[in-house]
Subunit: 456 residues, 2 copies
């Protein structure tokens, strides 16, 4: 199939497609606000109609117990791989409205960027996929690969019902790869493919002392203080170099090759710039790794909260009877959340906690996601980016966790291609969210190339 | 002067004296509750009238800016020492009323104990002193020593105005020793003289990180976490044996002689009993010292509160930008609060706090109080207790801090004789407060003996 025709079609119809996207952006599909429930239904049905118009089949607004999933497929590329394209039609709340230059649900183009809530997250990015289907089917009557669209309405509220939906519709949804376009590329002049997300293992530690707070004059020095014990536990998690001192913690963390480290050196921002932005004197992390590696390729154990005793005005001279800490670990590579939580438990059991009772409670966890840059699908995506964006993409890892990616991996055992079409700093989740129109063109071109590559 | 006559007078008039005490206890002199302000005035004036009747001179209700001080003296024992007798006429609030067996301001004798708010804290104990003056003056027309009464109305609200009052009335109040009767003896069949109170040095440590809480996915591992740093600081305060690891902290702490340690061994409660009462498996404190020593004769550094980040339901994956801890040290012997706070500051400055800003703020402090059991006045008091209570007293130290004692020491540079006439477990500050009438007799007899001893 000739890509030229497809690309010509997309260029020719661009204005009409952007006008459609404006209609989509006008629907305030805020999943977290009940008064927008009708808008959610409207957005789902609007999207389903555009899918039908594009030529997708079996288009359906499917119930989930919450906001519905919009499904559609085209499965006539015999012998070719099937991609499940994941995205979402719900958006973040737009409050505070007064901080928007123009109203969030009245899209406007300024400086070649579309300003609207949901512009980049995730309406334009999903629409690129739908319009590429349309372009192929109008110009060739067929697609180079099989596609299944799974566009959910609850991404901004933790995909509450999606895992169950994936499991109850397993046959219908199974595919050879997952494609997701829901984030920014690495930099304005540097496209990227994200090949790693950190996993999560969360827990809370509660330390119980005496039956009640005690007078620190009468009892201070003679009974264990839960705040001392919890501080001691937390201080024991790291050594002086910022390495995690929990036995076995780094099992399953890959050694990085020289090539990868060189690549990381290029990807890491100037630490002075980061420090300046964060308003700290200097950054601090695990010795021997740069900021990019510390925040994406290395695991962490982070105390998210700590509380116990009195912390109001002045002082209250007590030995408090209770302390609690909230902790989340970011995991990488082969690290397993359950195993990590067990290691932390073992570590704490070896410490001196005389005179108190220590309770460790596991909270949520999710495995890290990692795909090799050498995976054939990733290589095809890289080639597509090189053509679509005019520059070889870099392979990046993200420090965050997108649990739904790991859910797809676990449910369908497929590689995930994270084809981001956003730009950095597009105010996702913030006022004046926008989408760079230059990425509309780069995006559709990249996607056309990708499908062509997949056909080879 | 014959003590027999004085003691006979006190025995003969006991019922009348207790009836007077009942009148005193009926006045709800709650210093912390504004609606009792008239009662406070009434209690002060009632007490002043009883002082006049007892034969004290220069009796005056003196303004302080808050609740007044009741003053009175008798200064005709030429060449003899002058004792300033400190006490208070204010009482704790009586709430919750429903937990009292009989109403708090309707005194009643049950099982040879007077039940009423203020019975032991401090109305009966002060009244023993006033009635002893009366007994001496009625039987001999004079006292063996000079006395000045300074009975304040703000002891239960931290003696707000007393330090300034002492300083502006320095000439009028100066004396050779201070006597205070405002606590319990060591045990029911074991009188005691308290020869030490711990001092206090309080501070708060605030650790500042980035300009705001950060996403632990995007920044976790690459920036210092104030909760880690503060935990590390706190964990560094003690070594594995529970000793304080701050350089110089133990300067000025006296080595305990074998004799003292033997005495302490007798005074220390069974640790299993204490653990059971506190509902902990086992006690924990500085290795090498028993519970009594740990809580009275050894200094401490105690974390009273610790807070930072998120500590609600579940988890919030942030690197918090702020943490705070409230800390109080109990000091002994020659330890100086200012010096201790400086040592803690120095200690923290030596730690690795890269990437955060640590702020140490000094809060209140007070020097420890300690008087040698060998001091002649303490020895005289011991002899008096042996006769008054029929048993040699033990010398105890209290783990708490009574700032006003140290204030007297600093203002007048005098030894303090803590002549407690209460019993353990008399529900000071709690419902069903009471005073054992057996201690009325033991108390007046002890005091008569003490003054006689002071005359020698």
């Amino acid at each position: 199939m000739s890509t030229n025709q497809v690309i010509a079609y997309l260029a020719e119809h661009k204005d009409r497609m952007i006008a459609e996207l404006f209609d989509y952006l006008r629907i305030p599909s805020v999943s977290s606000q009940i008064h927008h429930n009708d808008d959610m239904r409207q957005a789902a049905s609007w999207l389903a109609n555009r899918m039908i118009e594009a030529g997708l089949e079996h288009v359906e607004v499917m119930e989930t117990g919450g906001h519905p999933v919009v499904y559609g497929d085209w499965l006539h590329a015999e012998g070719k791989p099937t991609a499940i394209i994941y995205g979402h039609y719900d958006v973040q709340p737009a409050e505070p409205f007064e901080l928007w230059t123009t109203p969030p649900f009245e899209p406007e183009i300024r400086d070649n960027k579309i300003y609207a809530r949901g512009a980049t997250d995730d309406k334009a990015q999903v629409y690129i996929h739908i319009k590429t289907v349309e372009a192929y089917l109008r110009t060739h009557g067929k697609l180079p690969i099989n596609v299944k669209f799974c566009i959910e309405g609850e991404e901004e509220i933790s995909s509450v019902h999606l895992p169950e939906f994936l499991s109850t519709h397993h046959e219908q949804l199974k595919a050879d790869l997952m494609v997701i376009s829901d984030g920014p590329i690495h930099d304005f002049d540097q496209p990227s493919i994200c090949v790693g997300l950190r996993g999560l293992a969360c827990l809370e530690i509660e330390v119980h002392g005496a039956k009640s707070d005690l007078h620190s004059g009468m009892f201070g020095g003679g009974v264990a203080n839960p705040l001392h014990v919890l501080s001691h536990i937390i201080a024991s998690f790291h050594d002086e170099d910022g390495h995690i001192a929990i036995e076995g913690f780094y099992e399953g963390v890959h050694e990085m090759s020289e090539a990868i480290r060189e690549n990381n050196a290029k990807l890491s921002p100037d630490p002075n710039d980061v420090a300046k932005t964060l308003q700290v004197d200097v950054l601090y992390g695990e010795r021997g790794y740069n900021f990019y590696e510390q925040t994406t390729a290395r695991p962490t154990i982070e105390i998210n909260g700590f509380a116990g005793g009195y912390f109001g005005e002045n002082i209250k001279s007590i030995v408090p009877n209770h302390a609690i800490a909230k902790i989340s670990c970011r995991l990488v590579d082969e690290q397993d959340p359950e195993h990590i939580l067990n290691l932390i438990n073992k570590h704490i059991n070896k410490l001196n906690t005389t005179g108190v009772r220590v309770e460790v409670r596991k909270l949520l966890g999710g495995k890290p996601f990692v795909v090799s840059p050498d995976h054939p699908y990733i290589q095809k995506a890289a080639k597509a980016y090189e053509i679509g964006f005019g520059k070889k993409p870099v392979f990046t890892r993200s420090g965050g966790s997108i649990p739904i990616v790991q859910t797809f991996v676990e449910q369908f055992n497929v590689p995930v291609v994270m084809m981001d079409f956003g730009m950095p700093g597009e105010n996702m989740h913030a006022p004046d969210e926008h989408f760079h129109l230059v990425n509309w063109e780069c995006g559709v071109n990249t996607l056309v190339q990708f499908w062509t590559e997949m056909d080879n």
